[in-house]
């Protein structure tokens, strides 16, 4: 049987069609085929969260979904969210609160934080910690990340 597939999807608003090996996962597709390298590849078995991507409005593990499964989907990466200005306040808060050090986890952390804040406008610190528990950060000790998300939640509530 054919080990390649034809796929068509929207990536950051742009319609793309490609023929790719069926085994290509979504994060490798956006990195190598779309040359969008903001989504990172860490553990490749769903533990670290560095590969977080948004598909049809929900965050997913980019390493645990085949690109072929995103047929017809709206795929958004950190580049898309960043260019659209959707998470400008989160990015600013991460920067100002020292929630970034090496930056490897940051794109995944930002997408996860954004999903939390769209579901829950006033999360407690405990709820923030629980929601980002699927994203490893090896630099910051999380405290500054929780601070930044909490601060943006307050700002957005006005």
């Amino acid at each position: 049987m054919d080990q390649n597939v034809d796929i068509t999807m929207k990536v950051n608003g742009q319609q793309v069609s490609r023929r790719i090996p069926a085994r290509t996962n979504l994060v490798d597709f956006v990195r190598y085929d779309m040359e969008l390298t903001g989504s990172h590849v860490g553990c490749e078995h769903g533990v670290c969260g560095a590969c977080t991507i948004r598909v049809n409005g929900d965050i997913v593990r980019g390493c645990l979904m085949l690109a072929a499964q995103a047929e017809g989907a709206e795929v958004e990466t950190i580049e898309g969210l960043s260019d659209a200005g959707e998470i400008a306040d989160l990015q600013k808060a991460f920067h100002e609160r020292n929630a970034v050090q090496c930056g490897f986890c940051t794109p995944g952390m930002l997408l996860t934080a954004q999903e939390l804040l769209t579901k829950n406008a006033s999360p407690s610190r405990e709820e923030i910690r629980e929601f980002i528990s699927g994203n490893y950060c090896r630099c910051t000790g999380y405290q500054a990340i929780v601070d930044a998300i909490e601060w943006v939640a307050e700002e957005r509530r006005g």
């Binding site: 049987m1 080990q3 069926a22 078995h45 969260g49 645990l64 499964q69």
Partner: protein, 284 residues
Amino acid sequence: MKPAPFAYVRAETLDQVFDLLDEHGDDARILAGGQSLMATLNMRLSAPEVLIDINHLKGLSEISCDGETLKIGALARHSQVLESTDVQTYAPLIAKTMPHVAHQAIRNRGTFGGSVAFADPAAELPAVTRTLGARFVLQGRDGQRTVVADDFFQGLFETDLKENELLVGAEIPVIQDGERTAFMELARRHGDYAMVGIAVQGRIEGDTFADMRLGFFGAGDQPILAKSAAAALNGQANSEDTIKKAQDSLDADLDPMPDLNGPAEMKMHLARVLTKRALAELAS
């Protein structure tokens, strides 16, 4: 690592799934949410020739209740189950469980049926469905059959599913007046596989335990219903002595395997600790 090469088919109908299963047998794997399968493919623990993606099959992701039975379609995503008011109302034990099932990004893809069919002894849903006496609907080419959870789970990643059958849904008896629930697990990081976990449903009439069902995960080669512990509780007053007897009888129910978290003795200890805590929560 990257998966070994495979062919990929997006199935549109059940007949197409059965045709592919007949044709490829063991060389084909069903791809539901993929949150366990993709990891095993990436690590090359498994290298099927064909992946049959069932995510586009129609009518398999509904959650509904007729007042007696809560039906959860096999393709219902964990996040959908987590947010379902029917689940909160009719199966509060499942509602208490869902926040512990992995992390949001994984819950957005992972499916109820996939978790049950994979039958990981350390996963929450196999143990919880067994605790609740769930029935699973297995679809073959020529029709459906229904299997109770006690008969469905048969060993380490082993179930009653035949080679050319597909799990299409779960039927869960709705909670009855007076039934109480508790769910707890011990994990090193929230959302990770638990070292040991417990799910309890039962009654406390006056101060006497009745109809107790205690399910454990991470405590053996399959999800376990602790029948000896339940027997030690039923008809007995909620006292330190009764709970001690239930804890002691876990030796007959559980057979944990040592893993990276620690030896079997440690898991037995944790199971006894969780039993005491869960029963206290049940009584509160």
